[in-house]
Symmetry: D3
Subunit: 329 residues, 6 copies
């Protein structure tokens, strides 16, 4: 990202817009539709987003400049925010124009993990510290070194294009929880290599750094993400990192690569081979289980307060039960 | 099981049969086939089992009494054990007759969990101790009380008719490892009721006590096990136990029952509803994951020493990789 | 349902609304959407329902009281019904307010089976009369006794949340036709227990009485309906009823319970065990076949007069052919 | 089949072979395997079949003539039948030679429907009598006219190559029970054309007459049976018969043909279109249900007396429960 | 199609409508929706189609005559075409009325293959010329004889109801490319009958001539198309044509019919038998492969210029990659 | 393979063994089973293989040396070949001992492609000559350079562990026919890059060189073949080769890699992404189609002369029809 002009505009987080007072701010325009009435007059239905949330907007009598703006643009807007009893929250736009890079601070526009970055980094350091195998430890240090690739991307990438962890640092947050859960599970079994589980869990999704656009303002798949797939990309990246670790044992490399390739668990889900070692089984199951518990959290957030059932979750293929905690009192 | 006559026969464990010396002992006959040659003479091909293992046997010139014995009988045998370079281990029978109950000690014939019973009971006590919810604690105390049903069965039942934990105490051993793993997983998530996960994991398979024959000498399904299924039976049992716990909260009961019903995870696998709470998701995944790691252990045992690959595992739908531990030097 | 105030409002069935004349009546409001125009004025798009049918409505310049009404409310309305050549039937609302329980007669609002209740009761009595097995007969008398549960619910519950028999007495109507068809089929086979088929067919769906809301004004699933499933609930109810019948043979109970549990026919469709007796096979097939013939009737009703093909039926996964009866002359 | 020489050999039904006494008879040889011992001497393991059943046989010191006989041949045999406590029933052959057509009576060798042919014909006549539609009635008279094709084959063909109704008149027996059941079901629905159901059910499997070999001594598929499939063949045959009926209404023909084409119910099971009329739905379901009840009968026959469970039935994908009739006292 | 009145109206192809100038022309109305505003005034949203393309239209203040027109009608329209920067192309209707047959030239309204008809006929002649087998050659001459059926339909039918080759001559175009590809493939294998592949490929879809409506102004399925399916219909047609060819060998007929019946490749896709000969395998694969390459062309056409990815293709179950040709420099 | 001692033994091809005359030769022992009789005497049942075929063998009174030989050994044998009318071909062993490397010529033991190597090389050269794209041409020259890897392996590897092309040069033979067919297909479409299809088809299976053991005397999977899969391995190899070609365009590389990754066509079959370009579609379909035609050839070889149907082919999921060529005469 390019440097921000010190004279950049001030941004008011969407979640903090004052009601009923005209403001000037800027946002990412994520949807734009031109509507019209029988008199042939056009107006705009819009959706804006920033790091704090989203809001619908409407813009009557748009200028040529406003009409020229597109979804994906950062736009400077003037207008009024209101919450109508019937319509819900909405921003009535008076003026709107496209901004150029440098005029705004992208950091204000991009959602980040709800877990503080400092905490994520501490948890990562703690996990790497648990590795007693020297080669796996070096591998992980390389892979998470923010001063080079792929570490630089790994530390900030989202875990998905939309929904589940689709925000800055989302990949790191997801990788950490999978690794913490998997290492805990592995410790129950004498025949399981805990280090290998921990390292495999931390790196299982590293292919996503090259499968998804790194432009957080325009999320989506890369060409390679679609044409080669995150499994093959991730395997190539891990194989490349392993080649950099002096004396990395061939046997350990074979098993580490197997974990990456097989972590989707089934051919139908994109793993060309299925898990054939205890370590690969544990990484796959902990990835899937953790994602599903996270999907419950997502579903709960999408429900209204007091609802006993969430909206239908496509990932879980069910509604989620949200009853008050089933404890005594 | 009826009392054992103090004058009962002495049993020599199959795994400790001396080579090349005539012995008298008793075993469970698990296979019996009558073969013949062109002279019309019949001989018997047999398989014997006891708590320590299995062995093939052959019996030429069988008496009428020997011919009358059947698979499932406990038989007194005289003969010689040998390990031929080409044939492998085999017992050459000289005499064989069916024994009556009371003549033998069933305990010598039944495989038990490789984990000592004392250790299983300690781990169970420790898990119940972790329960802070008073109703779940009482529920678990009822369910595992060896002085009554279903606890008496629960503490000794096998976890399967064959293979995976198909031995005395196998159900308890399986329930413990699932509960230990699941409780560990649950502790990573602030929104998860750890007590409910722990209790659900301990009881998820309790229906097996009525789905499988309790006669360990003749393992198999009960009529109800086939006609009603272990899920429905298990749910009925847990619902019955809950009804015995004074003041058990209705909401907690609803969720506990849901865990039992949904623990197979998919309709195709026999759960009429799929997991709809975080707790049910965790119990299901930990049950499946734990069983698969166990299947790796089974597959490894079925392989010859030094093999890099196990025989094909039907449960895992793959061979298991058995390379030397993937650690350094 | 609470008693109706003798001074309750008069209800004009939707199917009998006079065209072009202002009326005052009441209906169940089942959909409500607030729309707006560029002048910021809100108006309401509504859908009303009563026992006789449904109608779309529109309400301009709604009062605060009208805006406060919600889907699920019974509303008193004033306005005019019209059938425009282009728009079809519509109710133009002038006034609208929420009613309280007691102000209206719920019976006017709830769809009922097209078959007269008297006829349903006669057919039920006739079927029970055909039972020669005394225990099954008592079981059915208990299960259909309107003076207690579950009979009280069984006699009035709908057979579905929407579509197929989703009206008062729908469950009874569906259970009767399945039992009549199944008993007829069973009579063709000497090896089939006709009484068991008949009883199983009558009770196969009894779990629906606790799986669906009994509030016909707000149809939907109960928590238990989703978390435990109608199969497990139905099995529990039948097991409970059997326990009340003195001397009910254990063998007969085992088979009766199997019919309930297996009646969906496949694990994928929610039966944890599949049919393993002739009687269970017949109940399952007659349930499925009968529902599909009913789906043809539903599809035909959804078609316009003279159409040769119905709209696509999701249950049948096809369009239904509606040609004139394929007879001669 | 060619005429039988009046001097043809006498056949003793396998089911009536006297024990322990040398006899001369003839049978169909259905399996023949040459075994050998280390002295290089060959002997024969055989399986014989006739209309009454099957038996295993053994033949030591076979002549060249005996060695030359093949599975599929009718063979004249001399030897002794015995039932050994351990080996079960077996025929010890002393002499064996291949017979030529004309030397034996094929009728003695071919299994027939357990239902007497007279009864089958009466039931067929009764069903056709129920048809009130004149065109369908003529169609059925043509189709079942034993003096021409396809009626001649239809009246004697088996319903399968093996198992389920794989005997003479088996197709007629199966078609009758499907039609009787389906007509009974249809009578419950006012919107169903009972005549069309009845006619469709009687003819649904007529394609089998050309899909299976008509040589009952060598059952198997015809080339067309495999390459074109019984559905397409059956449709062609019914279309051809319809073309012979003067004035057969086009609409009725369209629907009749649809029943034949769709009667397997699913594309996966070989019907290129699925049922789209009530009549086609009923024929499909009654065919499937009837076959499954029949599979229960087959499974029961394959079980030993007193068994509570049949062997696994591949058609039903389950064991069948065989408990004593679930009636009282 | 009936004769066209010499005084028929002039048609301006949609693709050539002049911008901003009032015109009078006629089109096929394929969609019509009546919309309204709060003043109760109705206006029409329309979609028009002719041989050159489609266009959206809007009609305010429609006359009674305009309101009476329906989708499927050919309509005479007056109005103005414009391409607004925001709305895209649109036709503003001033007057609209339904036309009667004879008033217009249907040929102007129906899309045709982008490949010139002359070229299609030349390619067909060339393919038939390659046939050295005299019977297959006569069969193909009959089948493609435009002076009789089914040739008359075969030469002009579309290959689909919508999308893929859903235009006049589309079936011929599709059949030619499949035959050209398949004949080329067949030539690589010494064991393959190239003539049979070529003839089978040309006729594989002939059933579509009777499965789809021949009224190109109202595309859709025929009753038989749905109730009997294009596979059975196509087989009947080819069997009928074969019967007309003197001396057509039975063996060749059996194999030719097999190709038609099995060409969908799988039962799930509507072929009651799967390919069992090399020739049937090649025809099936070339049909499927060719259709998929065609779907890439369709997907590319649906993308905007310069897009690297097409819209999602339902046939291909993926987006199609549209990068600049992967060549050098 | 090590050099062959000039004094190496003479090998008589199994297919050319003289009948009834004692010979000395050597073969690969592929199966060895020790059998025994009631006298405790052991004999050996064996299967031998060489480049020309397989034969069963029996060895009575084996020496200690013979007993010590194992499946996988090359063995020197003395004995007599015979074809008994009843037993079929068999080799009666008199003497047998294990040989050491150097004593025998491996080339005599390994099956090779039925197509002469010279012809394979000519066809390969011709295909590479057709490449007009300079980078793809260099890529193919590298990949097929027998003087280095992977070319050295590519030119001699088998195409499978068993069955289909499971012989020396089998991979090259399979790659050539796929490329020839695919290039021919591609030429029919103006929008397809023929060079890319040709190159992709030639290299699609190159991963098999590292997935299967290169020791043709002991065929099987490598550890990486199972743990990483031939798709990922093949992609890595092609990516590595591309990196060696100076100036290979990135866009072309992306598409080439996509073809390798997607060539199994479906996730279920091991491709983590499905074909998303025309070229990838053609390579996948031609690979599958060609393999199936080859499976017909295999099935025909497995049938007896004159059979109309082959044995069941697991790859084709059907029997193959083998009627005399469907041509006229």
């Amino acid at each position: 990202m390019s440097a921000i002009d010190p004279a950049a505009e001030v941004q008011i987080p969407i979640a903090e817009l004052p009601e009923g007072r005209e403001v000037v701010t800027y946002v990412l325009c994520v949807e734009k539709e031109v509507a019209t009435d029988r008199n042939g007059k056009s107006y705009l239905r819009l959706k804006f987003r920033d790091a704090s949330g989203e809001i619908k907007a409407i813009h009557f009598d748009p200028s040529e400049e406003a009409l020229a703006a597109a979804a994906g643009d950062v736009v400077k807007i003037g207008g009024t925010y209101s919450v109508h009893a019937q319509y819900g929250p909405q921003f009535q736009v008076r003026r709107l124009r496209r901004m150029e890079e440098g005029e705004y601070d992208p950091a204000t526009l991009i959602a980040v993990s709800p877990v503080p970055v400092v905490e994520l980094h501490e948890r990562l350091a703690k996990l790497i510290d648990r590795l007693t195998d020297p080669h796996l430890r070096v591998l992980l240090e390389f892979a998470t070194d923010g001063a080079r690739q792929p570490g630089a991307d790994f530390l900030i990438a989202p875990a998905a294009v939309r929904n589940h962890h689709a925000y800055r640092h989302g990949l790191l947050e997801h990788s950490l929880i999978v690794a913490e859960v998997a290492a805990g599970v592995a410790a129950n079994f004498a025949t399981v290599n805990v280090d290998l589980v921990l390292a495999g869990a931390l790196l299982h999704d590293i292919g996503k750094t090259q499968s998804y656009s790194t432009d957080m303002l325009a999320p989506g798949f890369t060409d390679a993400g679609r044409l080669h797939g995150e499994i093959v990309i991730g395997h190539d990246m891990v194989a490349g990192l392993i080649a950099e670790v002096p004396g990395f044992p061939a046997e350990l490399a074979t098993q580490m690569r197997h974990i990456i390739i097989s972590h989707h668990g089934e051919k139908e889900k994109g793993s060309p081979v299925i898990p054939m070692t205890r370590e690969a089984i544990i990484v796959h199951f902990c990835d899937d289980m953790t994602a599903r518990v996270g999907a419950c959290d997502d579903a709960e957030r999408a429900a209204a307060d007091g609802d006993r059932w969430s909206p239908f979750s496509r990932m879980l293929e069910t509604f989620v039960y949200l009853a008050p905690p089933a404890t005594d009192d």
